[in-house]
Homo-oligomer: 70 residues x 2
């Protein structure tokens, strides 16, 4: 997944849970300003904050070896 997809995934997930940015901010501890910037594709989130958001939204971060297609 690339950057944009990651943002889209988080945004979509939040909406599917029907929570506002403000609620996620409060629950996760990531400031509202930071979350807003992130969701609108500005800025460069730190892993700590990404993790907080994912934890709050029930998302899991995975790193896998990329398969080579031929």
């Amino acid at each position: 997944m690339h950057f944009k997809e990651i943002i889209a995934t988080i945004k979509t997930r939040r909406k599917s849970l029907q929570v506002t940015q403000e609620e996620v901010s409060e629950l996760s501890g990531v400031s509202l300003r930071t979350l807003k910037q992130f969701e609108s594709s500005k800025g460069n989130l730190t892993m700590a904050n990404l993790q907080k958001l994912c934890d709050t939204l029930g998302l899991e971060i995975k790193l896998t070896v990329k398969e080579i297609h031929r």
Copy 2:
């Protein structure tokens, strides 16, 4: 995956490819200092740098909805 696992995954992957931190640094554009700090569990990488490292090492970042076990 949690923070430590992510670090471990990257470190392990690098070793399995038999490349040094220095080589990864040059290939990825992430500074050697930053990579060293990251691999030794200090610091809080930004997503941009995480992405660079993953790209270089042939790793894929995925966000998935966490399954609920019961």
